[in-house]
């Protein structure tokens, strides 16, 4: 037990030194350089948020960085829908949501809302096939057929046709899906609805759908664990989980016809060239960009345009919200990317960043600009 304790302490000390070393060197990759209003000073306050689990690691890291400056951010990863519901009930100051707000959502909110896309995460099609390495080629209709239960074994002709050079075992396919409501499910089923009319008609898209086949697991970690434990399993897992656990995942055919792996670079590419509606409610699923991975989920931070009036926040809390959002689309972007000490998400392209800044400038407290 004592030697374990010593090695644990050693690990902690080494890790702290490593973080200190990494933190002091600046790194930038991907995205655009922070432009516009990224204030270096932060308003001290305590603000509470809830929502997307895809983005939870990002917000928790940002919260950790901001704590030393006096801004305490508590984020509860309860899922995109729950976060928006909490915002509608004004029990949180901001919500994290993967899908953009629909009219049904905005109707329940207490007032106009600022919706800021802040990052992008790829949804991998991860599989557990002993002997078959990462990069199995799959196209949209094939993925849909697997999840519809039409393709039941890995040596099915459709999969074979896409992967002529690989010898596929005759293992049965076990589909793993989310059993809880999830923005990740929303992104994945939006993609499937786009590429397969059968899927669109039979199942549809949403945070919680009636899966035709497969076993359910709770949260990304549940799906990840289930895929890991079952040979022949296939499931949709966020990039961060897939990379952390060294999963094998498929190269999916995008709308331009190329088979693309879910790397950070290909995730960033999905954000380029998409149409941006006036409320910034973008969708990066099936992006038209040639180098883009087709199943990329955007994630938003939502807050009331006037948190004091609609969200019951005090002036200092409203300032804190603005500080946090400002950091999120400014200095915080540098923490995202493919670098060794960056979180494995794609940051905002500069075009989107300037739009975000413009929208954030409109935040008021009881009518007065913050």
């Amino acid at each position: 037990m004592k030697s374990r304790r010593i090695s644990a302490v050693a690990l902690v000390v080494t890790a702290s030194l490593a973080v200190a070393a990494c933190g002091s060197s600046s790194s930038s990759s991907g995205g655009g350089s922070p432009s516009g209003a990224s204030s270096t000073s932060v308003s001290p306050a305590t603000i509470n948020g809830a929502g997307s689990t895809l983005a939870a690691p990002i917000y928790q890291q940002w919260a950790s960085s901001l704590k030393s400056q006096g801004l305490t951010v508590n984020y509860n990863p309860v899922g995109s829908g729950a976060g928006v519901a909490d915002l509608a009930g004004a029990t949180v100051d901001f919500a994290g949501s993967d899908p953009a707000l629909k009219p049904a959502d905005t109707a329940k909110l207490k007032g106009p809302v600022i919706q800021l896309p802040v990052a992008f995460g790829a949804i991998t099609v991860s599989y557990n096939l002993p002997g078959v390495k990462s990069g199995l080629k799959l196209d949209g209709p094939t993925v849909a057929d697997i999840f519809l239960g039409k393709i039941t074994s890995w040596d099915n002709l459709a999969i074979k046709a896409l992967n002529p050079g690989i010898s596929l075992p005759s293992t049965a396919i076990t589909v793993v899906h989310r059993s809880d409501s999830s923005g990740t499910t929303s992104g994945f089923t939006t993609y499937l609805s786009d590429v397969s009319p059968t899927w669109k008609a039979q199942v549809g898209k949403g945070k919680d759908v009636k899966w035709p086949v497969g076993t359910g697991a709770a949260k990304n970690s549940g799906v990840a664990a289930a895929v890991k434990q079952t040979p022949g399993a296939v499931g949709y897992v966020e990039q961060a989980y897939a990379l952390e656990n060294n999963f094998t995942y498929a190269a999916v055919k995008n709308s331009a016809g190329t088979y693309v792996l879910p790397s950070i670079q290909n995730t960033s590419a999905a954000a380029n060239g998409i149409t941006v509606p006036p409320d910034l409610g973008i969708s990066t699923i099936n992006s038209p960009n040639a180098g883009a991975y087709p199943i990329v989920s955007q994630t938003f931070l939502d807050a009331y345009k006037d948190p004091c009036k609609d969200g019951g926040a005090s002036q200092s809390v409203a300032k804190g919200i603005k500080s946090f959002l400002s950091y999120a689309i400014g200095a915080g972007q540098q923490t995202l990317g493919a670098g060794g000490n960056q979180l494995p998400y794609a940051p905002l392209p500069s075009s989107l960043q300037s739009k975000d800044n413009a929208a954030l400038a409109g935040m008021t407290c009881n009518g007065a600009t913050l």
Partner: protein, 325 residues
Amino acid sequence: MEAGASTVTGGRSLIEPSPAARLPDQVLRWGLLGLAGAILVLIAYFFIRLIGQSGTALDHFGLSFVFGNNWDVSRDIYHGAPLVVGTLITSAIALLIGVPVAVATAIYLTELCPRRLRQPLSMLVDLLAAVPSVVYGLWGVFVLAPKLVPAEKWFAKTFSFIPFIGGGASSVTPTNYFIAGLILAIMILPIVSAIAREVIATVPADNKEAALALGATRWEMIRMAVLPYARPGITGGAMLGLGRALGETIAVVVVIGDAPAIGHHLFNQGYTLASVIANEFGEATGIHRSALFAAGLVLFVLTLIVNIIARGFVARGHRARVPRR
């Protein structure tokens, strides 16, 4: 010192307390009564709120909320038969596995165990109740479920001719009704065992010695004298265990697979009333939220019924035990 009317006590009897002294007594009495009444008011308010929130869903779906088989969140259809069936199946498994083991443990600890070991072993069995439900759930899903899959596959294959229990190896998923029921059995074991132990300990020594005097072996004595006498009390204890099994949330939600359909086999995934609330409440709005409250209401009513039955059994056993003089 004379009793009776006296000028010292102002015309009162010595043993009668003065009106001033009665005040704290009255305060205490009515204060405590108020507290007890507050509990009833709280439960009534809770019940009313629950009914109020479930009203929309129950109005909309009526009886098919309980008997219809289609829980579809994306289409806002809430027919909860899979939930009710799942709750009943897992609770039944919990009772089938948990009660016999609990009663056997109770018998062993009260009748057969060496005296010195009785206290420590009883305490160990009671400690099963001390493990938080989230820990049971995590251990169940990370350790127990994967380890049991081969055994479950063998079982399903060997007994595939029996409906529901069998079904072939392909029907087995790591998270399923069986493991949920098993975890529940572990969780209700301490309650049922503790009550059974109390009840068995009250079996009059006369009954036991009479059986032994007739030449019965130890086991026969237990079978003839102890069990029949203790049966009502034990049944009451089993019902209380059932109440716990019906309502257990966190441990079940991680091991049952949360599939909103009626699983056809023992080793299929399923759903329970308590789990659906835990999973879906966070973001439910409108009729979805109302449906979840309705699920809570159904659960509450089930608990009420089970408790009435349990009290009936325990009272009956009590009446049988205490002879009228």
